[in-house]
């Protein structure tokens, strides 16, 4: 059928559009009718309701903050709870000239001018109209009485009871659990304004920060009727808040305290990990600090004292302290060498007390200048022989070394749930080219073989690497939360297990580490001899290069602070590993002499009962015992 030719028919077009304009006009009329009837409904039918709302009695929606989830240690000991505390709140809209009211508060309570500025800052941070802003926390009975008798001079000021976070165990958990603090302006911009409408605190560090979303809970609210003066007359409607989830830590308070005692007031760090589960049993960074003042707002002076202290109590050495691992990497290096095929358990290296690269006169020295003679793997670990590991490193090469050490977690964040962990550094050719624009030198590989040079590790990484040796390469990220709301934390980014060509390689490394503690010439035999079970361990020494800038020069202390850091890692019982521990003693000088006894004290606290006997559940399997006998 041929298409008819369409001609423009202006008359028809005009009729069409006129029709559409009429339809449009009808729709407009109808919809304006809808608007008018809606307004009629609101303004005439519901007039009484709305005018009651707005004029005589104002209805306010008040958020009710949820109770923050409690934190327990693994045995149910309370680590963080919420204590009722009286605070002084100010509602700007009801105070009239609120700056004047602040002056009266300061005058009545006899507070310094410095506090008044703090109050002013807090009031200015108020978010919604008619929100009572807390200006002063933890009022004493006397202060409450003073406010009460001066109430007539203090419009808009109220004493309210609030639940405030409290850490009964104080400084024991400051570096693992962290603390909550007042929400600051930067955080305010990122927060969900509804969920946090009633909350004044937020997790700042540690577990409190990492699990903030689950610990916080869901906000509730109530509609209250208030009179013209803002006094609450009655509650119209209430939706209860949902409290935050309770968190159970993996840490054992008794072991934590025992570990702190073992460190004996020295600066340092201890991490203890349960080998089979990856649970962190103790996490010590000393010196520590009391987190409680941070909750309600620490005074500037007290904070400055903590911040500027030469001992750096605020510094989390476990997660952020970077130290060259020293000889503690030797077991990992040995496993890398075995798996790469550059050494065998029986291959030997002759140690004259130093190592030289071919065609090079530079001497890389063993710590023992006289040399250990011909050494095999076991002896090399037992004696911590540097020459053997120079040779191993040279044969392994930087590329393979980097790959293996990365598998052990060096140079990357290893934890599941620890806030602000640093990655440390495991150098590679690419890294050096990017950082220094230089090629890699063979000599740099050698010193990496004994854990010196560019390498930087945290005590947590060393503990995790040791756990991996104990656990035959099975990767479980170390974590601090055993359960949150009854549920185990899930590792969404699991690390692949280390698979060796021959699983026996793990045993060779373990044997060497056992010899360190129990061998006749083991570097830590003094500690090993007194143990009620067999320990596999390795010492290490990290050189302190120089005092950091900004530290005060103190003649009596400088010398001490130039001394080497002492390191020791290990796991026990060696045949059936239950616990892996890494110990760092700042300026402790001797890994075997200073750090090893600390390690043993921590292991004793976990493995032995009150009578000093190995708990039966940690006894080595019967067949292995028989073999040894």
């Amino acid at each position: 059928m041929p298409q008819p030719i369409r001609l423009k028919d202006h008359e028809k077009d005009a009729r069409l559009i006129r029709g559409r304009a009429i339809v449009g006009a009808i729709v407009v009329f109808l919809l304006i009718g809808v608007l008018v009837s809606r307004l009629y409904y609101l303004q005439v039918v519901q007039y009484e309701y709305h005018s009651t709302l707005s004029e005589n009695n104002r209805v306010h929606v008040q958020p009710i903050p949820p109770n923050r989830g409690l934190i327990y240690d693994r045995n149910g000991v309370i680590v963080a709870d919420n204590r009722p505390s009286f605070s002084l709140t100010l509602t700007r809209e009801r105070a009239g000239d609120w700056e004047k009211v602040l002056d009266v508060i300061v005058e009545v309570l006899g507070l310094p001018e410095e506090d008044r500025q703090l109050f002013e800052k807090r009031v200015r941070q108020g978010r919604r109209p008619f929100e009572p802003v807390p200006v002063l926390f933890e009022l004493s009975e006397e202060q409450i009485a003073k406010v009460a008798i001066n109430q007539f001079r203090l419009p808009g000021v109220e004493v309210t009871a609030q639940l405030v976070r409290h850490y009964p165990l104080g400084e024991h958990f400051a570096h693992s659990v962290g603390y909550v603090g007042r929400i600051n302006e930067a955080e305010l911009k990122k927060l969900d304004p509804v969920e946090y409408s009633g909350s004044h605190h937020i997790g700042k560090t540690g577990v409190e920060r990492f699990y903030e979303s689950q610990l916080h809970g869901k906000v509730g609210y109530e509609e209250v009727e208030t009179n013209a003066r803002g006094r609450v007359l009655r509650v119209l409607n209430r939706t209860d808040p949902q409290p935050g989830k309770d968190l159970v830590l993996t840490i054992d308070t008794k072991l934590q305290e025992a570990a702190e005692k073992a460190l004996g007031g020295r600066r340092g760090a201890i991490v203890a990990i349960q080998v089979k589960t990856g649970e962190v049993l103790a996490m010590v960074s000393q010196p520590s600090f009391d987190p409680n003042p941070f909750v309600t707002g620490i005074s500037f002076k007290a904070y400055a004292e903590l911040r500027d202290s030469i001992d750096q109590p605020l510094f989390n050495r476990v997660l952020r302290g970077l130290y060259p691992p020293g000889s503690t990497v030797k077991p990992m290096m040995a496993i890398a060498g075995l798996d790469a095929g550059v050494i065998t358990p029986s291959s030997r290296v002759f140690d004259p007390g130093f190592y030289q690269l071919p065609n090079n006169t530079h001497k890389y020295r063993n710590w023992n200048r006289y040399g250990d003679g011909s050494v095999n793997l076991e002896t090399a670990l037992m004696r911590s022989n540097d020459t053997y590991f120079y040779d191993l490193a040279h044969k392994l090469g930087i590329d393979r070394m980097h790959d293996y050490m990365t598998k052990f977690g060096l140079g990357q964040r290893v934890s599941l749930d620890m806030f602000e962990e640093t990655a440390g550094l495991m150098p590679s050719r690419e890294w050096k080219r990017g950082r220094y624009r230089q090629a890699w030198y063979p000599g740099e590989t050698l010193i990496l073989g004994i854990g010196q040079g560019y390498m930087q590790t945290t005590p947590l990484q060393l503990a995790q690497a040791t756990t991996l040796v104990a656990n035959h390469g099975k990767w479980i990220r170390p974590h601090l939360a055993k359960t949150i709301g009854g549920v185990k934390p899930v590792d969404e980014n699991p690390v692949p297990d280390i698979v060796l060509k021959d699983p026996k390689y793990w045993d060779y490394a373990r044997n060497g580490m056992e010899m360190v503690m129990h061998g006749a010439r083991g570097t830590a035999r003094k500690v090993g001899n007194s143990a009620a079970y067999r320990i596999a361990g390795k010492s290490g020494t990290a050189q302190v290069v120089a005092i950091k800038q900004g530290e005060r020069y103190d003649r009596s202390k400088v010398r001490e602070r130039h001394r080497d850091h002492a390191l020791f890692v290990g796991f026990a019982p060696a045949e059936n590993p239950e616990i892996a521990v890494s110990v760092l003693v700042e300026n402790g000088e001797s890994g075997s002499g200073v750090a090893a006894p600390v390690l043993k004290a921590v292991m004793d606290a976990w493995l032995l009962d009150e009578n000093g006997v190995l708990k039966p559940e940690y006894a080595p399997p019967a067949n292995e015992q028989a073999q040894e006998q």
Binding site: R6, L7, K8, D9, H10, K12, D13, A14, L16, I17, R18, G19, R20, A21, G24, A25, V28, F29, L31, I32, V34, L35, V36, R38, L39, Y40, L42, Q43, V44, Q46, Y47, Y49, H50, S51, L53, S54, E55, V61, P63, E93, P129, P193, V194, S197, V219, Y221, E223
Partner: protein, 381 residues
């Protein structure tokens, strides 16, 4: 003699002699009167809503002045002249939108604006509110009506390009208004009812699909809050609860100018921009709102009369679309504030504070005036 001399004059000359000053300036007196009424009312309400902020009033008044001048300048161009330049304006507008999307990346977040420092700062998506209906009107005016499927598809494509660019910015409110302005041209052009009903029917499964597969959690939350604001009385529900209280407490006659409590005690958010109708309703009551709606109704009626009387197809389509889109602004804004529609950022035309929307709206009315005052006088006589 003089009598016969008159007869020898052409009709056009007769008209020119009768033409008043307003007609010579190509201004439509009725529209101008209504616009000035709204402007005066706007300043009254704004004075109260802004908490007696005279600076803000002066800004709004000067924006209105600039808009009026722009409107009169636009009214001088013949619709035929406009139609000739529409394709270029469309291409230019799309290019500016692309520039916004590209340069917006550099300027970190300020993705809706083109900013030439010290010279000019503007929102190209605003232009599209005028260019969009003009483009579709230009395209369809060259075709036979009602449009055939092929022409509908091309029109939808012409709408789709700038809309998707605006959505990328992202600015859902403006994108919807641009779609609306283009769709109204199709409606005026006699789009068959079966297509309209079909599109409406297709929206339901699309909306269901969007809910499950496209919308983010927070967007769903917004829809849920609209459906029952009481579920979120601290967040966006707060606005609606408060604005309803403001409107409702106004009653029939209102609390009186400057006496609204809801707005003056900071209960009402955005009280001088998107939610200004709540202030008007609180202070002037149902009577005040009805008067405002009546003025809007007169404006829209005048727009539809201009549509019917326009002599070119382009003029008819353009005028019809601009008028209907204007009504959509009014309806969406009042519907939103009174809790009939979800909260989207659409200002109340000529009343809300804000220069950009004022200038765009007045430009639209400039086009209407041009369409009406450039008709061939012969046909009128």
């Amino acid at each position: 003699m003089s009598n016969s001399f008159d007869r020898t004059l052409s009709n056009e000359d007769v008209m020119r002699r009768r033409a008043s000053l307003l007609q010579r300036l190509h201004i439509d007196g009725i529209l101008l009167l209504l616009l000035l009424t709204l402007a005066a009312g706007s300043l009254f309400v704004l004075y109260s809503a802004s908490g007696k902020d005279v600076d803000l009033l002066m800004k709004q008044a000067s924006s209105f002045g600039i808009g009026l001048v722009g409107m009169i300048i636009i009214a001088q161009f013949e619709p035929r002249f406009m139609a000739r330049w529409v394709p270029l304006a469309y291409v230019g507008g799309v290019a500016l939108l692309v520039a916004v999307d590209v340069m917006g990346h550099n300027a970190m977040g300020a993705t809706r604006w083109i900013n030439i420092p010290g010279v000019i700062r503007f929102q190209p998506s605003e232009f599209m509110k005028i260019i969009m209906p003009a483009t579709i009107a230009w395209y369809l005016s060259k075709r036979t009506l009602p449009p055939r499927l092929k022409h509908i598809v091309v029109s939808l494509a012409l709408i789709g390009v700038p809309v998707s660019l605006i959505l990328v910015q992202p600015d859902l409110g403006t994108a919807l208004l641009v779609i609306t302005s283009g769709a109204f041209v199709l409606f005026m052009a006699g789009l068959q009812w079966r297509w309209i009903i079909g599109a409406a029917a297709a929206l339901v499964p699309v909306a269901v699909g969007m809910w499950f597969f496209v919308l983010h959690q927070y967007q769903k939350q917004r829809v849920l809050t609209f459906l029952s604001p009481e579920t979120d009385p601290l967040g966006s529900g707060w606005n609606i609860i408060q604005s309803k209280a403001a409107i409702g407490s106004g009653g029939v006659l209102g609390k009186g100018w400057l006496l609204g409590t809801q707005s003056h005690l900071d209960f009402l958010p955005e009280s001088h921009t998107d939610f200004i109708i709540a202030v008007l309703a609180e202070e002037f009551g149902l009577v005040g709102v009805c008067i405002l709606l009546f003025v809007y109704l007169l404006l829209i009626s005048r727009g539809l009369v201009i549509t019917v009387q326009a002599q070119t197809l382009f003029g008819k389509l353009m005028a019809g679309s601009l008028t209907m889109t204007f009504f959509v602004y009014v309806f969406v804004n009042i519907g939103m504030v009174s809790g009939l529609l979800p909260v989207v950022g659409v200002p109340l035309p000529f009343i809300s504070y804000g220069g950009t929307s004022l200038i765009t709206l007045l430009s639209g009315f400039g086009v209407l005036m041009s369409i009406h005052t450039h008709r061939k006088w012969i046909a009128q006589v």
